[in-house]
């Protein structure tokens, strides 16, 4: 009896140690995040105190109001950047999910001639880093007459190899019998895709939604190339303009606030789809 109690105590002690250890590691990864939030809340004087502080002692909302008012006074209001980012990202994500799911479903469940070749292209595309094709991409966009428009930020990022790959891994697990049953019941092919395949693929595309959102949201490279006018810039690019240029020292707090605002949406989207993402990562990891 005593031995059992002792044993249980030992386990509990181990648990506490484990949680403490993990807690320390969380601090390690989490501190930059905390620092980011604090920087956004610090006043300019506090930002330049020596030695530098991580945790802010008297938080103010001054930076946020600065961000809204001072930038409102310039040609393009800050809210416009927020709108640009949200609009282009959401449209890209939705279209990308639709196009990639359609394609991946067609490839796995209808098996056209040359399916293997198409899949080989997808795998090759996964290995390529985007900067290799950046210049020709610009040429294509230029030829299509899309430079300096929202479409330039949306269209090149719809057919993405990674998204296709992820959905395809999941399509393979769809049982043919369900699709066959629907076909016998007289459902059209598009109807089968929309009413049966898509709901079953929900874990796959909700993960895609998160990854695609994060990537597109944080991408400052393509707006940098494709966008010329200030009114069409997205948040990350606007942030870069804000952080560079004249008067940086005075604006450090504002930059902090802008950084925080730029980071938040990705975290919110993740919070919404959290469970599904973890599930999908687990599956696709084993299969690939």
């Amino acid at each position: 009896m005593k031995a059992i109690i002792l044993r249980r105590k030992k386990i509990k002690f181990g648990q506490i140690l484990l949680i403490l250890l993990l807690g320390a590691l969380v601090c390690f990864t989490g501190l930059p995040l905390v620092a980011m939030v604090c920087r956004a809340l610090m006043s300019t004087e506090e930002l330049y105190i020596y030695p530098p502080r991580i945790i802010c002692h008297n938080p103010t909302m001054q930076n946020f109001s600065d961000l809204l008012t001072s930038l409102n006074a310039s040609v393009v209001p800050f809210t416009r950047y927020v709108f640009n980012s949200i609009f282009t990202t959401v449209v890209t994500v939705v279209l990308s999910i639709l196009v990639c799911s359609l394609g991946a479903y067609g490839l796995t469940k209808h098996k056209p001639a040359g399916a293997d070749a198409i899949f080989a292209v997808v795998l090759a595309a996964l290995m390529f880093s985007t900067h290799v094709t950046q210049i020709p991409n610009y040429l294509v966009v230029n030829k299509l007459g899309l430079v300096n428009s929202y479409l330039a930020l949306i269209i090149p990022k719809i057919a993405v190899a990674y998204n296709f790959f992820l959905v395809k891994q999941f399509c393979e697990q769809l049982p043919d019998s369900i699709l066959e049953a629907a076909r016998i019941d007289g459902c059209s092919e598009l109807g089968i895709f929309w009413k049966i395949a898509m709901p079953l693929l929900k874990p796959a595309w909700s993960t895609l939604a998160v990854f695609s959102f994060v990537n597109n949201w944080n991408d400052y490279f393509s707006p940098l190339i494709f966008i010329r006018s200030d009114a069409l810039k997205t948040l990350p690019l606007a942030l870069q303009t804000l952080a560079g240029g004249a008067g940086v020292v005075a604006r450090a707090g504002t930059v902090g606030a802008a950084t925080l605002i730029t980071t938040l949406p990705a975290i919110i989207v993740f919070a919404i789809f959290r469970g599904k993402v973890m599930e999908t990562m687990t599956y696709s990891g084993i299969k690939s």
Binding site: T29, L107, H110, I135, A159, F164, A243, T263, F270
Partner: protein, 292 residues
Amino acid sequence: MKGRKLHMTINRRRGIEAFIFLFPWLIGICLFFIYPIFVSVRLSFSEITKFKGFIMEWVGLSNYNYIFLYDTKFVPTFLQVMADTLLNTPISLVFSLLIAILINRPMKARGFFRTVFFIPVLLGSGYVMKQLLGMGADTTSITQGIMVPEQMLDLLGPTFSPIVQSVLDRITIVFWKSGVQIVLFLAGLQGISSSLYEAAKVDGATQWEMFWKITLPLISPVILLNFVYTMVSFFTDSNNALVDYIVTQIFTNQQFEYGAAMSWVYFIFSFTICMVVIAILRKRTYNMGDRA
């Protein structure tokens, strides 16, 4: 006969349907991946004679010659990036495997820990990340500011403190890049049947022995996958010094042809390294046969 004919038409119908399904995606991938790849190869062997209309002239290997014979910055940066990647990847793997094993144990707040370690992934490698890692010209480095108090650095003296700083800097970057790897390892760990551990325990194996004899061999395929994933993500990271150099050459200095040539050299080398690593590690991974 009739049956066979019907079968064929169904097959053909399927093919056409598949094509319709794939159509939008195929257009996209042709326009923004396959065509650009060809143009980029062509570009790297040419010189642009006229920017208007983008007229190119074939110059053979001269762009490539320039990289290795004249450019004083490419080769050192390249070597440094390679060294960094080869150093960071194992650190990242050991760290993420450790974390994965820890959060795979039954305990309180497991979901919380799993989420927290994944959050850095969300910040991506974009400009925000750059800001956070203090690589922006004007921000005080957060990684440096936080980890070591000034007094401690003073104690260490001028020879050791830069070393400590750079090690800590590297660790923070690695920690921040391990989110996906942790999840993949978790998946691998959960795929190991618990009966193996029970059997080992009955036979009197210690935790330590079980790790080396059961866990490690069984997750070796995941280690391979993670190794490649980590290397590719370090290679293609936009905070990477070489990528930064290429991008500057292309978009600031307008050296399109030269940039294309550099990208291809970089890509071919990093691809080869990945392949070599795969070839080496694949021999050592334990194959479960029927499990896979």
